[in-house]
Symmetry: C2
Subunit: 190 residues, 2 copies
């Protein structure tokens, strides 16, 4: 193969999804951007949705890597969970494609995009679930259902980072860490 057409197509589609979103990205546009005939796209991908899913797999991998880059063996479980969750939620607001997709999901509810957002959420919960399971095995925390725990932790972070901000002034990273520790680890009981 003289030129890596598949790579060109993926790069062009990523650019276009990032700039215009899923719905407003046309296959003609991707073909033009990739300097490729439209038919060529369909020799690599069954349809637009599959092309999008391929790109989403990469995005989710990047998000996982972002989490892994801040998690450290030597840290305590709660420190690592805090860092990982904060990093992944941050990723969703910093990575341009993720931002565009969340916007499109909220404003238009494009089905393929809703599914993609769901998969990102599952990736976060899945990653934290593993951390929780490991922490239980190491006897760092109480016995509990790891998936429910991970789900609650993620939702608590969204509550603290996103929902509370909507009600007034945002919480700092340190305040969030403190609240997380208070409610999930220490508890309100005296």
């Amino acid at each position: 193969m003289a030129v890596d057409r598949k790579r060109f197509i993926i790069e062009a589609a990523t650019k276009s999804f990032t700039l215009f979103g899923y719905k407003a990205t046309t296959m003609d546009q991707v073909a033009k951007l990739a300097s490729v005939g439209k038919g060529t796209i369909y020799t690599f991908f069954k349809n637009k949705e599959e092309l999008f899913e391929d790109i989403m797999i990469t995005l989710i991998q990047e998000m996982k890597q972002a989490a892994e880059s801040v998690v450290q063996e030597t840290n305590s479980f709660q420190e690592n969970v805090h860092l990982a969750l904060f990093e992944m939620l941050q990723f969703r607001t910093k990575h341009q494609l993720a931002v565009k997709l969340f916007q499109e999901e909220k404003e238009m509810g494009t089905p393929a995009v809703s599914e993609a957002v769901r998969k990102m959420e599952n990736a976060i919960v899945g990653y934290i679930t593993n951390q929780v399971s490991a922490a239980i095995d190491r006897n760092e925390i109480k016995q509990c259902d790891p998936e429910i725990a991970a789900f609650i932790m993620m939702k608590l972070y969204v509550t603290l980072v996103v929902d509370w901000e909507r009600r007034g002034n945002a919480l700092s990273k340190e305040e969030i860490a403190q609240l997380f520790e208070l409610y999930v680890f220490e508890g309100l009981a005296i």
Copy 2:
């Protein structure tokens, strides 16, 4: 005044909002249902939105009463918070007007309805905030920001009652109470 026209209007509007939602309820319809000329409505209410707000105040009062009906002096704080939150979230899924409004908010995003839903949420948080403040004064729980605590508790309940159900099988009232106690009061720390 021969007949209580205002009462008739409110009853007719409540029926219509419950049956058809805010958007699909017409002032002509309300007037007909109330056996009143359309102009009469505007002698009691400035416009459709104010009529709706009047009815919402009643709905929120009812929700508060539902919470108060299950809260008891002799109960512990966490028991009362559990009962109150469960009751109010239940109220939102049982009271027909509330159900209709949540549906309309989700499907159409009617601004007046979004505002109403926001007020219901504030009412719940406000009620729990008071409970938390009182519990701190009684030294039943640790010192903490009562509003953030109430907000987190409400969100945790929505997570457990609504969000987790969407991921698979629902949790029972007892499981929810246990999880609530584990995460908010006891904590995961060993």
